[in-house]
Amino acid sequence: MTGTTTQTSGPTPRPTPTEPRNYHFPAFHRRTLPNGMRLVVAPVTKLPLVSITAVIDAGASVEREGQDGVAALTAQLLLEGAAGLDGAALTDRFERIGTSVDAHADWDAATVSLTVLAERLPDALALVRDLLRAPDFPEREVARLKDERLAELLQLRAEPRGLADEQFSRAVYAPTARYAAPAGGSAASVRALTRDVVRGFYAERYRPTSTTLVFVGEVSVDRAAELALELFGDWQGDVATTIERAVDASPITRLARVVAKADASQSEVRVGHAGLPRRHPDYFETTVMNAVLGGLFSSRINLNLREAHGYTYGAFSAFEWRRAAGPFMIQTAVKSDVTGAAVREILHEIERMRSQEISTDELTLATSYLDGVFPIRYETTSAIATALSNLVIHDLPEHFYDDYRVRVRRVTTEDVLRAAQRHLHPDRLRIVVVGDPAVIATPLGEIHGAPVETVTPDGAEVAA
């Protein structure tokens, strides 16, 4: 440049970060009541709120054969009558103290949780005691909640996203595996549930020894322990029996299946296979690997399908962490006429992940994201309560959350390649697409190397 120019204004230069401030996951304390019920308490004083979560070892994976859906139904029924109050009255009690309680069961636990103003904690916990210790399971409400679940399943048939998820699970797991059917049960299994089955499940699983109470917020450890002892100290019950059931058996072959939705403007695409159990030693490597593959907005799959090709509004991948091997799933919704091209790109990205190391840039994007975002994940009392519940459910090391960021930063590009080679299985991919068979069956068949199966939304095979 010659001479001088006067720069009146222009873009300011890219800044550099200042020194990070320290962050610690909230300290928590454990207590055990004489009857075996456990407490986890994290005093957090920021706002006058307390979140409580009761975690009960009563999830869908401990249901007996033939009772699929009983865990979810039992948990929901806790709110429909207890200690002589009917469901409407119970709801009213919670809502009048400014809270609403959630009770549900997923694969690994039943949880009863709420967030309440700290001054209302004793009232709220007394109501939780009633639900957990003295549910009535009224016949009428058993019938109603069964009907609502059946209505939900009916809705699912017309809802492409939920339908794709459900059909994907069915395709990934062996028909005998519990994970093949929805956690809430299928229409046939739900219809077969009765009040007695619910009562039996409750009696067997809801015990002080299989229950942990998590408190997070403006409450001291002693106060929480005092309240728990007062309300749950005389709850008696033996240790729940262990259920041996195959939950995650999965075929090791490829499959491509179209769930027919004629004239669909988009295809809901699911690609993946059974993943790995939460306590697998490769948890961190696999988490970082997935972040690069499809876990972040700036992941390979999203940048490819969305930003390079404009095929979709978004494309993501995830390992769903359960006690047993939950699914690894890539999901996207693409315009029908590019379904084949989009699936090809997905398969290509899986191959690329397994064949060469990722760049250092990609590694640090993933690790610095997971490291940096950690405190943002735990801004709320309910998010901290969920994290502590997971500690309980998966029996994670006591320092898991303290060590999380260090463990993430320690992952190398070699680790990621090894995780991809061990835990991504192109030879077992199950490709499930909800879409218009007239448009997508042929291109999918070409990719699969064989004709695809076509099924109706309720899973019945369409004769070829």
């Binding site: 962050y23 809705q155 403007s265 930003e307």
Partner: protein, 437 residues
């Protein structure tokens, strides 16, 4: 619950609100532009939202795809959203990365256009058209997003047309449109910047002045047409939509007092009595007792000009017909209007809403967004601290006065989704044919 609030205005008109909280080393940056789909010109429905996508495509000093990458690499979360009357952009980052977030927002506010290309526009047009398919066209009931405002606001009103836009209007969007929209609306004097979380006030001010200070003020935006509307719809409106759905679902909407007005809070409490959580009337009566509905809820749009909308959203059980559903919901509305509400119902609603207001203050991102909201609509972010009190002032008399004025049959718009039986049958036939081939 009161949060601390400071404000200042730059010479170029950018209004800034700050709220410190050092609980965690996190800071949220939140920018509202006072422009939304209401500002779109004829033939360009969906443009405000498409434009929002373009703001993530880089700017003078930021490469394509780099905006997301820089924030994520910093350990932050980010997004943007478009509404009828505003567009927002936000990131929550570790507090030592505050300047990065401010720099990114300033760089695109000041220097977006050099980065705009036809190819980026074409790709984002595809992405948005796919977003439309995903959220509306291929989703049961999805079209309610554009049908309900179209039903409740007259043709000429800025809230009438589709926010996501028609495919053909999206196709028509050009780089010239981008330039014009940017120059007109994306100016510091048409924006509010909020920062909440772990920062030093003096330092934050210095950084804001440094990065946003040099950006010139805009030339002013064209005024919106008159938004004023009569308080009621002037008669019952009804639209029946056959759709690929299994269960009938009713959206019953009422014109209601604009967000921020005294009567808004009575309307909001009335909505909560009807449809907030399981203790609400619709859930109690229609889901639990009569078992006509599978789900029931209510919500408001929170619009500040013309008219707000209060909406009841009820899905039928498989055994109930759409007629039964519609009749049952209208009966509940009639009953509330004719017989009024009880003091305990008001107390339940207000207590629940109060807890929700406090819970919503837990995250820095939510705090910053609320500050921007009140600053954008009312020029006063401290209104965030008055919301609970305004709800507490609501009495049964005020709810009843609202109900008498606004829940009559002259102010009901029914958008009723019904299963498209004939279509389903033909789809099944088609399926059988596919199988036969």
């Amino acid at each position: 619950m009161q949060i601390p609030i400071d404000t200042f205005t730059l010479d170029n008109g950018l209004f800034v609100t700050l709220s410190e909280d050092h609980t965690a080393p996190i800071v949220a940056v939140n920018l509202w532009y006072h422009v939304g789909s209401a500002n779109e010109r004829a033939g360009r429905t969906g443009f405000a939202h498409l434009f929002e996508h373009m703001l993530f495509q880089g700017s003078a000093s930021v490469g394509a795809n780099e905006h997301f990458e820089l924030v994520q690499r910093a350990g932050g979360t980010l997004n943007g959203s478009t509404w009828l009357d505003r567009t927002n952009y936000y990131e929550t980052v570790p507090s030592n990365q505050l300047e990065l977030a401010l720099w990114l927002e300033a760089n695109r506010m000041g220097y977006l256009l050099p980065a705009m290309t036809q190819q980026k526009l074409d790709t984002q047009r595809d992405v948005v058209q796919n977003e439309r398919r995903w959220s509306m066209d291929n989703q049961p009931y999805g079209s309610w997003w554009e049908r309900l405002p179209a039903l409740c606001f007259p043709q000429s009103h800025p809230f009438h047309h589709s926010l996501i836009g028609s495919m053909s209007d999206l196709d028509a969007a050009s780089l010239e449109d981008i330039e014009q929209f940017f120059t007109t609306y994306y100016t510091p004097d048409n924006a509010v910047l909020s920062i909440a979380g772990d920062f030093d006030r003096a330092e934050a001010r210095r950084l804001v002045e440094r990065h946003f200070g040099p950006i010139p003020r805009g030339a002013g935006k064209p005024p919106l047409p008159d938004m004023t509307l009569p308080p009621t719809l002037g008669g019952p409106l009804r639209e029946v939509v056959p759709d690929d759905v299994v269960l009938p679902r009713l959206f019953l909407a009422f014109r209601s007092p604009v967000f921020g007005s005294d009567d808004y809070y009575a309307a909001s409490v009335c909505g909560a009595i009807l449809g907030l959580k399981k203790g609400s009337r619709l859930h109690r009566r229609l889901v639990r007792e009569r078992q006509i509905a599978a789900e029931a809820q209510s919500f408001t749009y929170d619009l500040t000009k013309g008219s707000d909308l209060l909406v009841l959203d009820v899905t039928a059980r498989p055994e109930s017909s759409s007629e039964e559903l519609e009749r049952a919901v209208n009966e509940e509305v009639d009953r509330l209007r004719d017989e009024g509400v009880a003091a305990e119902e008001v107390a339940r609603a207000v207590t629940l809403i109060e807890t929700e207001l406090i819970v919503a203050l837990q995250s820095a991102g939510d705090r910053a967004d609320k500050l921007s909201l009140f600053a954008t609509y009312f020029g006063d972010p401290s209104l965030v601290n008055t919301q609970a009190a305004r709800y507490r002032e609501v009495t049964p008399e005020r709810v009843n006065a609202f109900a008498r004025a606004r829940l009559g049959t002259d102010n009901r718009a029914s958008l009723l989704y019904v299963p498209r039986d004939t279509e389903t049958t033909s789809a099944n036939q088609e399926l059988a044919e596919v199988g036969a081939r």
